[in-house]
């Protein structure tokens, strides 16, 4: 069971780190969520993995599971939940204000840039790259 848990935490952390390093806000949000999941399982495992022991002290049983990590995980889950919700709203705000969902707010993908030309211009909010594309097209 230890090996399985270790692999689960490792896989989630690796995916989380990979997604966090992506250039767009949505994968970054997903990556942070995965990292939060990984750390929750990790915290849980730090109370040592036990099977069949009561969560609350029971005089008839030989032992009990460590209750502290459970309390820590509960706190961590609530905080991570709130932070993720905040981050999603902030990412949407950034998308609306900067006209694209890149974390630097500067780049448009090819399809977005071509789509942009068919839409009414957003004037100042257009990104540097999109403006560059517009100029090139005007020159042709």
């Amino acid at each position: 069971m230890e090996i399985l848990i270790a692999f689960v935490i490792g896989a989630m952390t690796a995916s989380g780190v990979f997604l966090t390093l992506r250039g767009r806000t949505f994968p970054v949000v997903l990556g942070l969520t995965l990292l939060a999941y990984a750390v929750n399982v990790f915290l849980f495992a730090m109370g040592r993995l036990t099977v069949g022991l009561p969560a609350v002290i029971d005089p008839t049983q030989g032992g009990y599971a460590d209750p502290l990590p459970q309390a820590l995980v509960l706190t961590a889950i609530v905080i991570a939940f709130g932070m993720t919700a905040f981050l999603i709203v902030l990412a949407l705000k950034a998308r609306a204000e900067m006209g694209n969902d890149h974390v630097d707010g500067l780049h448009l993908s090819e399809d977005e840039a071509s789509l942009k030309n068919t839409l009414p211009p957003r004037s100042q909010r257009a990104s540097r790259k999109a403006r560059h594309a517009d100029q090139q097209e005007a020159g042709q």
Binding site: V39, F42, M46, V103, D104
Partner: protein, 514 residues
């Protein structure tokens, strides 16, 4: 009031309940919210003066939350270091709040005053807690409030800087949990005093994982304190946010620094056996490289606010060098420089905002512009701030740097420390001289389209600068105080004893009434 056992808790209760009160006061208008905010911050100032007095008289004061004794219960620990940080925060908050009200920045969005109080709640909690997981919770409280404050007023670049700030801090929080989990798994406790004892009795097989977890925790504090190479989020976030928020955030980097002194200094302190102060070489190296990078950033900045943000980074790096030197004398000097750099950096952020408003559409960019209204007065202030911040005589920055350099002489790396601090100071002096001459002398003809000088706002800057003057006049007593604090911070034994041996309060005073 100083005998009251719950006194440390009052520093948390005032801003928390106060913030709620201000929220409820919203229907009665901004004016009431402003008055409440100012009164609460003033009240907090009285509490923090009380805290200082108690801390110096009694050494340590432990408050057991919910009357559960440590290490099972959560404790708040008041000592001279935490009392000093709480007082510094409150003084800074008062100046920032006054500027926010004077310049009407609190009108640009809802709930500025609520977020401001909650921010103070989180800061004071982080300074006073004696439990590492509780430190995480208070970090989250102060971060969530800081997200709101950072984005206050809105704007495209502010949103972008805010997004970076939020993401890097969420990663930091995740790392914090990994470190806390690993330390709990190995030491079986999260109370700092108890952890210090557990590390002292650590079996050899557990040394490496505990050391790794401790360094992971150092990375977390490095993100908060913005030290090399984890500082890239700071200039964007601080330069783009509103001036009073940037001024208040001058203390935020110091929270990370305080956490290193408190957590690592206690858990991996002088009694930690093989792990005693094993983190200090990392801190010193990060400080040395970071100072060089920050000085280059100061030289390269294209706007005044960006330049001040890099000056904050330089001051943090200097403080790290002071902490990394790892002697009580160096820590005493560092704490002196910490008080100075926090207050002067905040004043410079406020001043940069006044200058940017005076230059109208040219804002704070380093370009020639028509002369701003009241240029002589603002220029005098700028000269004062630049001298204090770069560390030229006769102001407090010079004193602080001299104390740190003096403490560095005995260290093995003294040549590196002296060289780096002196060269970076020279670079910063050149950069500030250049920006000052560009802003105030190299002006274009014609009238500026900027606003008239906001005189009430200037009062905040004046107040902060006067403290800098006071720190020179009373340099001896203040340095004596910070050195006493540093001595106590290095003497971990009494801290551990006091935390672990504080009994729960019996309810005599409850029964006494009957």
């Amino acid at each position: 009031m100083t005998d009251w056992p719950s006194l440390p808790f009052l520093a948390l209760l005032v801003p928390l309940l106060g913030g709620t009160l201000i929220l409820l006061a919203k229907p009665f208008g901004l004016r009431l919210q402003r008055i409440l905010g100012l009164l609460l911050t003033l009240g907090l100032l009285f509490v923090s003066v009380d805290l200082l007095e108690v801390a110096f008289e009694q050494g340590h004061r432990v408050y057991t939350l919910g009357n559960w004794a440590a290490p099972y219960g959560i404790v708040l620990v008041l000592d001279a270091l935490s009392a000093m940080m709480v007082s510094l925060t409150t003084v800074l908050a008062l100046a920032a709040l006054w500027y926010a009200i004077a310049s009407g920045i609190d009108r640009q969005g809802a709930h500025f005053h609520v977020l401001f109080q909650i921010q103070l709640f989180g800061l004071n909690g982080a300074f006073l807690t004696g439990d590492v997981f509780n430190l995480f919770v208070f970090f989250e409280v102060l971060l969530l409030a800081s997200y709101g404050l950072l984005l206050h007023g809105g704007g495209r670049l502010r949103t972008r800087g805010g997004l970076h700030y939020v993401v890097i801090n969420l990663i930091g929080s995740t790392l914090f949990l990994f470190a806390v989990g690993a330390l709990y798994g190995l030491l079986g406790t999260l109370n700092m005093a108890d952890m210090a004892q557990a590390v002292a009795d650590l079996p050899t097989s557990d040394l490496a994982p505990v050391a790794a977890a401790g360094l992971l925790l150092l990375v977390v504090f490095a993100i908060k304190a913005a030290f090399f190479p984890l500082y890239l989020w700071l200039p964007g976030a601080y330069a783009e946010t509103s001036a009073p928020v940037a001024a208040l955030f001058a203390i935020m980097t110091k929270v990370g620094l305080y956490a290193i002194i408190r957590v690592h200094g206690t858990v991996f302190g002088p009694e930690a056996g093989e792990l005693a102060f094993y983190h200090q070489p990392f801190v010193l190296t990060a400080g040395l490289i970071g100072l060089g990078m920050a000085a280059l950033g100061v030289m390269a900045a294209k706007g005044l606010r960006n330049q001040v943000a890099y000056l904050v980074l330089a001051s943090v790096a200097t403080l790290l060098i002071g902490v990394g030197l790892n002697t009580p004398q160096a820590l005493g000097a560092t704490l002196y420089y910490l008080i100075h750099s926090t207050l002067v950096a905040a004043a410079l952020f406020l001043l940069a905002d006044l200058i940017a408003k005076g230059r109208g559409s040219y804002a704070d960019r380093f370009e020639s512009a028509p002369a701003m209204p009241q240029a002589v007065l603002l220029g005098g202030f700028f000269l004062f701030g630049a001298i204090a911040m770069t560390g030229m005589p006769p102001l407090s920055g010079f004193m602080g740097k001299v104390f740190i350099l003096d403490a560095a002489l005995a260290h093995d790396w003294s040549a590196w420390v002296l060289g780096m601090i002196l060269v970076s100071s020279l670079l910063m002096i050149v950069a500030m001289a250049r920006s000052g001459s560009l802003l105030f002398y190299n002006t274009l003809d014609g009238a500026s389209n900027g606003e008239a000088l906001n005189r009430p706002g200037l009062v905040s800057v004046l107040g902060l600068f006067l403290i800098s003057v006071g720190m020179v006049v009373f340099a001896g007593p203040i340095l004596g105080m910070t050195e006493a604090i540093a001595e106590r911070a290095y003497d971990v034994g009494p801290y551990v004893d006091q935390v672990l041996n504080t009994p729960t309060q019996d309810a005599q005073w409850l029964k006494g009434g009957h």
